[in-house]
């Protein structure tokens, strides 16, 4: 291996790591706020990418029907609860968010003929379809179990993952897709060739990380989320709704996931089940960060990306064995350095 190859591998690892970093951030966020280990994070990657690909192919993506269906379901459940609870005033809001919004998005999609639109508009439409699924899934699957143990929530996550992968196969088929790059430009840095899409991925990751940092540090909602993450009961006593916090974190997670998918779709092929392993590696990175620290999660993600890239060079058949075995010492180190007097549960 010479320097040239090492540089190329490093570049590859960092680009992959950037995506893992985004997912890791979302996972940390969701876990901290809701204690849900959000395995289905990866499905949003696939949904985002494949929805965009469907637009490019001039098809109506199946996720649109999922959005409408989930909206109707949420509206039904919430209406029943609102009526039973003698709170019919809420119905207006339910209709607006769960029925009118999806219907408006559907109307746009069917009316606009997305295949003819510029890329940015397609991306916006894809996000508009996929992102609202986040809070809806929270409402349907997790909210009734918000106080359950981490293990039960984890199992629910796996169940949601299974259902979403099944739906993905139904919507998009077994074959993968790619989308057109945001930029076809190529830059030469020394002996390295960097293409535009790579820069997009790195740039978007950095922007998102900074945006999250600002969101949590500077905005009211961000601070409320942080408060919920630190102390659920306390936050509730202070008038911060844990349900709202849950929905908000799932919205962010869905947004980050879908955007990650849209970013990588031009540089790799995305399949209906791509999300799981990407999500898992993001999860590894998040765990390296102890599921609490955002900068460490990003660093962990880059580490996973590099590890993967170099091991695929040295021993490709054993790549996963290497990546996942080397994670164990990292975990042991993490676990030993984290201070643990009291036990959980």
């Amino acid at each position: 291996m010479d320097l040239q190859i090492a540089l190329l591998l490093g570049q590859d690892g960092i680009v992959n790591g950037a995506i893992y970093a985004l997912l890791a951030l979302a996972l940390v966020l969701v876990f901290a706020v809701t204690r849900v280990i959000f395995i289905p994070q990866g499905e949003f990657v696939a949904y985002g990418a494949l929805t965009l690909a469907a637009f490019e192919a001039g098809k109506t993506p199946g996720t649109l029907w999922l959005l409408l269906g989930a909206g109707v379901l949420v509206a039904l459940i919430d209406t029943v609860i609102a009526v039973r609870g003698g709170n019919p005033g809420r119905i207006k809001r339910i209709v607006l968010w769960d029925l009118a919004l999806p219907a408006a998005i559907a109307g746009l999609v069917l009316w606009l003929e997305p295949a003819t639109l510029p890329l940015a508009a397609k991306v916006a439409l894809s996000l508009a379809i996929v992102v609202p699924l986040g809070p809806m899934i929270y409402r349907l699957a997790y909210q009734p179990l918000a106080e359950a143990s981490v293990l039960v929530l984890l199992i629910v996550s796996v169940a949601v993952h299974i259902a979403l992968v099944g739906l993905g196969l139904l919507f998009f088929g077994a074959e993968g897709s790619r989308t057109t790059p945001f930029s076809e430009a190529q830059f030469n840095v020394g002996t390295l060739t960097v293409n535009g899409q790579t820069l997009w991925v790195l740039g978007a990751s950095c922007v998102l990380i900074v945006a999250l940092y600002l969101f949590f540090g500077r905005t009211l909602y961000g601070k409320a989320l942080r408060a919920t993450a630190i102390n659920r009961v306390g936050a509730r006593l202070m008038g911060i709704s844990t349900t709202l916090a849950g929905k908000l974190s799932f919205t962010l997670a869905a947004g980050i996931g879908a955007l990650s998918g849209i970013l990588i779709a031009p540089i790799t092929t995305v399949y209906y089940d791509t999300g799981f392993l990407i999500g898992l590696k993001g999860f590894v990175a998040a765990i390296i960060a102890g599921l609490v620290s955002y900068p460490l999660a990003a660093a962990g993600a880059i580490l996973v990306g590099l590890l993967e890239s170099f091991s695929s060079f040295w021993a490709s058949a054993f790549k996963e064995v290497i990546v996942f075995t080397l994670i164990i010492p990292v975990l042991v180190w993490r676990s030993l350095t984290s201070h643990h007097v009291e036990e959980e549960e």
Partner: protein, 381 residues
């Protein structure tokens, strides 16, 4: 036609004293899980199959094995013991088919696999007596590729394949034949179907500077190594396997796949075959049926393996019906004998001539070299 089958049904009902039975076909495909892109067109194909053969009604029971051996075995047992099927078709992938061999043989029920490995039917022993398959063996396809490489003056070759049974089967056959053909295999790499990057493997391969590279993957995932090769500026020849032969692959790979060679069943380029080719007619028939149901350009060669399994069955049933009634042990045994006696059956992937030692029965006519030109599959002379 309907009248005729009604009469036939009445006649057979009159002849037999026990309950009237349809021919029951148990089908097992990998319609979900990692092999879904192979299994789904197969599953779709069974919906197009004839519902009567030789006047007998045929019932297809299609189950999914989720690309998992345990499920495959469980469902095979279900088909055999619950549904009392007369013949098993499946599974899509090699490990599942291998796991099913014992069970089918135990139940003395013929089985037609749609998976690639020669190990499923070779050697024909007490168990494999009952097992047949329709896809070309990896070794036949490997020979076609190495021949083409030889003729193009390739001296060194690198291999990158799926980290699963498909890639493994190819590696075993290809590495053997390449050696016989005096080519040097300079690198052998693996990648996973869902990998987002194969840069590491490609750099490793390119550092050995091979004349040609064989990518052994199926469906759209096989496009990633090729795109990476182009991106990194590889100038040599690139070969793919017949696993990629569907239009989704062309869609995803785009211009990066121009000039790629692959061996494939004739069904892929049926329209380009000379009219004298006996396979042309049967292959076009399948394509027409499939595309009528699923839209133009939707056909895949994997679905055609399922179609061929159906043709084998349709061809064997009349003979078997003479020896026993569907649902009986005699019928199944006779069906096995009839399948083994298949002669000159023109199917979508070639001409089947089974013998007691060859339960595949395909010959040279079952493969053509294809080149991707202008986003189309073009048959090579």
């Amino acid at each position: 036609m309907r009248m005729k089958s009604l009469v036939a049904a009445l006649l057979s009902a009159g002849v037999v004293t026990f309950a009237y039975a349809d021919i029951t076909v148990g089908v097992l495909v990998s319609a979900t899980g990692p092999a879904a892109s192979l299994g789904i067109p197969e599953k779709n194909t069974f919906a197009l199959m004839p519902t009567t053969i030789a006047g007998e009604k045929v019932k297809y029971i299609v189950l999914d094995d989720a690309s998992d051996t345990t499920t495959a075995v469980k469902n095979t047992r279900k088909l055999l013991t619950e549904d009392k099927v007369d013949v098993i078709m499946g599974s899509t992938i090699t490990p599942n088919s291998l796991a099913m061999v014992d069970i089918a043989a135990e139940a003395e029920t013929p089985m037609i696999s749609m998976a690639a490995s020669a190990r499923i039917v070779d050697p024909v022993d007490a168990k494999r007596r009952w097992v047949f398959k329709t896809p070309q063996n990896d070794v036949q396809m490997s020979t076609a590729i190495t021949e083409h490489m030889n003729n193009s003056g390739v001296k060194t070759v690198a291999f990158i394949g799926f980290s699963d049974a498909y890639g493994e089967g190819w590696w075993q056959e290809f590495s053997k034949i390449a050696e016989v053909r005096k080519m040097k295999v300079v690198a052998s790499e693996r990648f996973n179907r869902a990998d987002t990057s194969v840069t590491g493997q490609i750099l490793k391969i390119m550092s050995t500077n091979p004349d040609a590279i064989l990518i052994a993957g199926s469906g759209t995932p096989a496009a990633l190594p090729q795109k990476t090769l182009k991106e990194k500026g590889y100038k040599g020849k690139i070969y793919q396997t017949h696993g990629v032969a569907n239009n989704d692959f062309l869609r995803v790979c785009g211009k990066d796949c121009e000039g790629t060679f692959l061996p494939a069943g004739p069904v892929l380029v049926a329209a380009q075959l000379p009219d004298s080719n006996p396979v042309k007619k049967s292959a076009l028939e399948y394509i027409a049926k499939y595309e009528k149901a699923h839209g133009p350009g939707s056909v895949s060669t994997f679905g055609a393996h399922a179609w061929d399994a159906g043709l084998l069955l349709a061809n064997a049933v009349p003979a078997a019906l003479k020896k026993g009634k569907p649902g009986s042990k005699e019928f199944r045994a006779a069906l096995r004998d009839a399948l083994e006696g298949t002669k000159n059956l023109y199917a979508a992937h070639g001409v089947f001539n089974m013998t007691a030692t060859d339960h595949l029965g395909l010959d040279q006519r079952s493969r053509v070299m294809v080149k991707i030109e202008g986003g189309k599959w073009v048959a090579q002379k």
